[in-house]
């Protein structure tokens, strides 16, 4: 995906918290992003109670992640949140402003197909997490998230995006089926 660099800026909400604006669209409330995040997290209470793993589509500025973490911390001994973020530059921005959010791992790439090469994400998906969509993030990068969500395992080697060397392919095929 070779799109033009997104127009990403930071603005201040009325509550003095910072809000990223992507392509002119604020990713959180410009009045009170923390209050909005609290309501958002509570709306997902039932889902978050079920399993200690949540896959969140959209990083925003992390307010919703902080609220999701609070709920999960109450309900589970340990929990993990993985975030898929369409804009790598936003991920870098959030990290530089807010540091690493405890219990949260961010996965980002310009091409959503690259996400399937990240071992940490694959390990996380095997835990069957609940999926939570951050609407402003999803709406500003819909094709990206839809490509990610529509991904399915290839039916045969011939359909892989990159053909492997035959020696590697044979070794892998045998390795998979070995006892």
């Amino acid at each position: 995906m070779n799109a033009a660099p997104p127009l990403l800026t930071i603005t201040e909400a009325k509550s003095k918290e910072l809000v990223p604006v992507l392509r002119g669209r604020p990713l959180h409330s410009l009045h009170n992003p923390r209050r909005e995040a609290e309501v958002f997290a509570n709306n997902h209470l039932a889902q978050l109670n079920r399993v200690p793993y949540a896959l969140v589509l959209g990083l925003g500025f992390g307010y919703h992640l902080a609220e999701l973490s609070k709920i999960m911390r109450l309900k589970h001994k340990t929990f993990h949140i993985a975030v898929i973020e369409a804009i790598p530059e936003l991920a870098r921005l959030v990290e530089s402003y807010r540091g690493h959010l405890p219990g949260v791992e961010v996965y980002t790439a310009h091409d959503p197909n690259e996400l399937w090469r990240q071992q940490g994400l694959a390990k996380f998906l095997l835990m069957k997490p609940v999926v939570v969509t951050h609407p402003p993030s999803f709406e500003t990068s819909t094709p990206y998230y839809e490509t990610f969500l529509r991904h399915r395992a290839s039916s045969s080697v011939e359909t892989w995006s990159k053909q492997p060397d035959p020696i590697w392919a044979r070794a892998f095929a045998e390795f998979k089926h070995a006892e």
């Binding site: 095997l126 395992a153 290839s154 492997p164 044979r170 070794a171 045998e174 390795f175 998979k176 070995a178």
Partner: protein
């Protein structure tokens, strides 16, 4: 710039491979293979590899995770392959002095074509199949299929394959076992049980009934040569070469039954040892093991040998049927022998087929079948010698003519 220090890669993606590899590491091994030793292990083997201190580098291939990804409806094969390749690529890019695949396990063997090595020790894939030029290592892999694998026995075999065989422990114990049986005042006292942990109040009872030998402080290999190992509070375990008895077994009837099972196994075990020592090039120990067989209580020996003759006849019949058919041969005789459960017949057959370097086609022509027939003939002759040595009546069979 290529390092001049020799580098050796060990494939240990499962517990058996790990245990076997660690058991051969020692001064002699490091002298023969100087340089750096690098481990490729499964996730469950990582800790053991680190703790051993043998390896300069440890690389982990998480087989379970990769296979889970491969079969996941969304993650899938392509991602799994990427993780597989990413882990192995740094190792594949190097040129190795030696590549070790001692256990011949299929997971490890699957990777062998990827690596470039001056010397490969153990099972490897080649253009037209799978080979293992070292008979003892092939024997290890085949004994696993025959459900007769044993880590202590495998260690002996691996040492032979690596040119480091030391039979001093076997020699010591064969002499001791022969002596203990000779001095036994009654049939129960001829049963030799080893113990490796504190038996507590049970020790007195077992000491009174049987001959007890303290294995604490002895080489681990010693457990192979006693009739069974007494373990405190651990359930009876039927591993063929090292059966165990639960020392807390207080019911005399149950104990009697268990001893009967153990002795039945022990006769077969010493027959296997006789053939094994012969294959390891030590005819003297082979004969000593044969003499130990003759010293078992006669009622147990008679029942055992009569049963074995019957089984040998069945195996011979299957073999002759296979010989009457034209090629290609499927190795049905071998598979049938394995299916009959552990014992001298599958052991002898496996000894023979381990001499053939082809792993998949151990029986590929009439010569191979004739070699197998000769091995069964040797086994029949062994039984005949046992009958004569003990003056037991040999049942009338046409086995000598058949074989």
């Amino acid at each position: 710039m290529q390092s001049e220090t020799p580098r050796h890669l060990h494939l240990m993606l499962n517990a058996q491979a790990m245990e076997l590899s660690l058991s051969v590491f020692g001064t002699a091994f490091c002298k023969k293979y100087p340089g750096e030793h690098i481990a490729l292990v499964g996730k469950n083997q990582e800790e053991s590899a680190r703790v051993s201190g043998f390896f300069q580098e440890i690389h982990v291939l998480d087989s379970y995770f990769i296979r889970q990804c491969a079969t996941h409806p969304i993650i899938g094969d392509e991602s799994a392959f990427h993780f597989f390749q990413k882990t192995l690529e740094p190792l594949v890019a190097q040129r190795w002095n030696s590549l070790f695949n001692l256990s011949g396990h299929t997971t490890n063997t699957a990777l062998t074509p990827l690596f470039s090595a001056t010397r490969i020790v153990g099972t490897r894939h080649v253009e037209d199949g799978t080979r293992c030029p070292e008979p003892q290592l092939k024997l290890i892999a085949q004994l696993t299929q025959a459900k007769m694998s044993n880590p202590l026995l495998e260690r002996l075999l691996a040492h032979k394959a690596l040119g480091q065989l030391d039979l001093s422990v076997a020699e010591q114990w064969i002499t001791r076992m022969a002596d203990l049986r000779q001095r036994a005042t009654d049939p129960l006292k001829a049963v030799v049980l080893g113990y490796t942990d504190d038996l507590g109040t049970q020790k007195g009872l077992y000491d009174h009934l049987f001959t007890l030998v303290d294995l604490r402080g002895e080489e681990a290999e010693s457990s192979l040569y006693v009739d069974a190992v007494l373990r405190s509070g651990i359930a009876n375990h039927d591993e063929y070469f090292t059966p165990t008895i639960n020392a807390r077994e207080t019911d005399y009837g149950d104990l009697e039954t268990r001893i009967g099972e153990v002795l039945h196994c022990a006769v077969g075990k010493w027959i296997c040892f006789s053939f094994l020592f012969d294959s390891l090039g030590n005819a003297r120990l082979a004969l000593a093991a044969e003499k130990i067989v003759s010293r078992f209580p006669h009622d147990i020996l008679r029942d055992y040998l009569n049963g074995e003759l019957g089984r040998l006849k069945e195996t011979a019949k299957a073999l002759l049927e296979e010989m009457r058919r034209p090629a290609p041969y499927t190795g049905k005789t071998l598979i049938a022998a394995w299916r009959g459960g552990p014992g001298p017949i599958p052991f002898a057959c496996t000894l023979e087929t381990s001499l053939h370097s082809d792993v998949e086609k151990s029986i590929s022509n009439e010569q191979d079948l004739k070699a197998l027939k000769n091995r069964l003939k040797q086994l029949n002759q062994f039984y005949e010698r046992c009958y004569r040595a003990t003056a037991l009546e040999i049942p009338k069979t046409d086995l000598a003519l058949t074989l």
